[in-house]
Amino acid sequence: MGTQTERLTDIGPPNYEQFLHPVIKKNYGKWKYHENLAPGVLCHVSETGDRIYTVRAGSPRLLSIQTVRLFADLADRYSGGYLRFTSRNNVEFLLDNPDNIEPLRKDLAESGFPVGGTGNAISNIVHTQGWVHCHSSATDASGIVKAVMDAVYDHFTGQKLPAKLRIALACCLNMCGAVHCSDIAILGIHRRAPKVRHDMLNKVCEIPTAIASCPTGAIRSATVDGKPSVEVIDAQCMFCGNCYTVCPAMPLNDPENDGLSIWVGGKVSNARSAPRFSKLAIPFIPNNPPRWPEVVDAVVNIVEVYARNARKYERVGEWIDRIGWPKFFELTGIEFTRYHIDDFKNAGLTYARSAHLRF
């Protein structure tokens, strides 16, 4: 580690203890049970009888420092200055005095931050950078999230679903945000093979690395107008974008053909059934900014059909387990196409290898 200068380096994050509410410090590891007092409001009760109240508010995740300071002010006013963020990017205020819950909720509402996301709700959408900061995005992230959350808002502030419903969005197949295990996943996809920039490829990329990056072996070396470069066998490309990740000269962004796909039935928790991947529901919806109405409708439709048909405690995937995929497509009115049938590496393991059929 030749880099140890006078500069401070490798100090890691500050210890969390200094940021813990006194009641939490005192009752750390002593919590006995919790109650869900209202949507977005939790009360955790300790062996010692102490209680900590949590007020959870929705956040766009992309925050200006002005809003972060607003959260700080609210924390000073109502929760002794103590707050945290959740694994789904909501903000949680930690109160020792229940009388502060209502005024905090009012102040949050006035600044446009809804309280909710607990229990059998749709919580915040885990998402990624999109056009705000990423070069490989097939779509924007924040815009779709905003449009969808506006549409399912009542499921954030309410808790009337059969179970938790987790939505996630990733703007390309890299799937930052790990959408692959969500009740409903919104995934940005490319649909055209990369357009190779022969003029610059040799300058900005290692040709062997580019070739090696392709899972389907669609890339082979080629010499184009004298310059060493690569060519892509279009028919062999499934648009994963990995070549672009390793080689800037192979962009595959394409306004006409980039868009969204919708995946359903994944889960992460071990509750009842094992964790599982989301499965393809809709192969492609074109990008339609600024509010992506087709994507919003698709998500709302799935949510509502689920809400109407699932039994209590059934996550989306567990509901589909019970009714079967044919019924899912029938109830949602989504078309089943050849694209729904796996033909990648383990193709065949998802074919129906029994005579168990409903008619």
């Binding site: 200094q18 919790h34 992309l62 972060v68 446009g112 056009w131 306004p255 990008n287 405690y313």
Partner: protein, 413 residues
């Protein structure tokens, strides 16, 4: 700065509706920051053209670090000069994402001085994301951050910032101290976090129980999921209260138990704890009546990742149970063996889960010196293609060879 706002008719549509608007956030920052204002402009252009206007970054960063900064450059710098560079810093978050108003304000002040005024609380790996600044601000930002006691997160082929669920800080189900472990790991591996020495990225995520509130089984190369060995703690009085309060214990609890190991006779709930697979459902439904057992610890699972290249993976069981008090040491010891092997045999950009897929779990276990146990598999192999190892096989001979002759013409079956 940008006194009268630029026109953003498309993005303005996203200020409408009840959910908090990221556009409002960018506009708020744009009032003071030309960078934010140009971001707004470029984003409006992306909305119009339906395409990203960011280019691949070259490597940018702070002295002596191999990661923590994501370089981004506009591909339309002439239109939006203030975001011609627009790099983000990834900053280690405090375990559990706990803050005080005070420390948040200080972070804001630093970013106000050096950056775009825009942030993510948090990035999906868990870092604080300081969203967008120029190359020459990086070092200065870093120095102010370290003075405040913060440090950079990871990017590239390094260990990434570990994350954890709230755990014992605010959850009755935590089977080990997730925040302490997360913090210890982050501090123990600062060098691995800041200086690329791996074939690819490596992520830790710590969940206190099988509800897995940080989605570790889906997103972490090493997933540490709390569980317990003894019996579920049961409070019969509280069970009756739930029943009295109208909970249908048979239907909503017993019938939903994956192993059907619970029995409710209308008065008493009995659990066959040897059949229980620790799924948490019954506990989730009756938090006042049921709790994880007292003999607490965690299951270690390995190999989750996103789909690139060969398809997504969930982590799989490596060590079924490690007692809570032995967790840190066990993880460190195990990880050192895993990193040694992966470092030597992993291909470039091959996650540890992909390495295991490629060479097979048996070979991986041999390599890290772990004995196979049935808990590692959902079922034994169903194909007869067993690579018997030479030490298990005799040096054999094939008798009757002379008997083979050309009378045996080519086989057609």
């Amino acid at each position: 700065m940008a006194d009268e706002m630029r026109a953003t008719p498309l993005l303005d549509e996203l200020e409408k509706g009840p959910w908090p608007s990221f556009v409002k956030e960018i506009k708020a920052a744009a009032k003071a920051k030309p960078t934010a204002d140009d971001l707004l402009g470029q984003l409006e252009l992306s909305y119009k053209e339906k395409i990203s206007h960011w280019k691949h970054g070259g490597i940018v960063g702070v002295m002596g670090y191999g990661g923590g900064v994501i370089g981004r450059y506009s591909d339309v710098p002439e239109q939006f000069p203030n975001v011609s560079h627009f790099h983000t810093l990834r900053v280690n978050h405090p375990s559990g994402w706990f803050y005080t108003s005070d420390v948040l304000r200080k972070l804001c002040d630093i970013w106000e001085t050096h950056g775009s005024d825009l942030t993510n609380f948090h990035g999906s790996t868990g870092d604080i994301i300081l969203l967008g600044t120029k190359t020459d601000e990086l070092e200065a930002t870093f120095n102010d951050l370290t003075k405040l006691g913060f440090d950079l997160g990871g990017s590239g082929s390094v260990m990434r910032t570990p994350s954890c669920c709230v755990g014992e800080a605010r959850c009755e189900w935590a089977c080990y101290d997730t925040m302490a472990l997360c913090n210890d790991l982050t501090h123990t591996y600062q060098d691995e976090l800041h200086r690329p020495a791996f074939p690819y990225k490596f992520k830790f995520k710590c969940s206190g129980c099988p509800n897995d509130c940080v989605a570790s089984i889906a997103r972490a190369d090493l997933s540490i999921i709390g569980t317990w060995k003894d019996d579920i703690q049961q409070d019969d009085a509280a069970v009756s209260e739930y029943a009295a309060a109208g909970l249908d214990i048979q239907k909503d609890v017993c019938d939903r138990c994956p192993t059907k190991c619970m029995d409710w006779d209308g008065k008493r709930l009995s659990i066959n704890n040897r059949e229980c697979v620790r799924c948490m459902h019954c506990i989730n439904v009756m938090p006042k009546a049921l709790r994880p057992g007292k003999e607490k610890g965690a299951t270690l699972l390995i190999g989750a990742k996103a789909p690139i290249l060969q398809g997504a993976l969930l982590s799989s069981v490596l060590i079924p149970f490690v007692p809570a008090q032995e967790l840190l040491e066990t993880v460190k010891e195990l990880v050192s063996r895993i990193w040694d092997f992966w470092g030597e045999y992993g291909n470039n950009r091959e996650r540890v889960g992909e390495l295991i897929q490629r060479i097979g779990m048996p070979a991986f276990l041999d390599a890290i010196g772990l004995d196979p146990v049935p808990e590692m598999v959902s079922a034994p192999r169903d194909n007869p293609y067993i690579f018997f190892q030479s030490e298990d096989v005799e040096e054999g001979e094939t008798p009757g060879e002379e008997a083979l002759d050309e009378a045996a013409v080519k086989e057609t079956k």
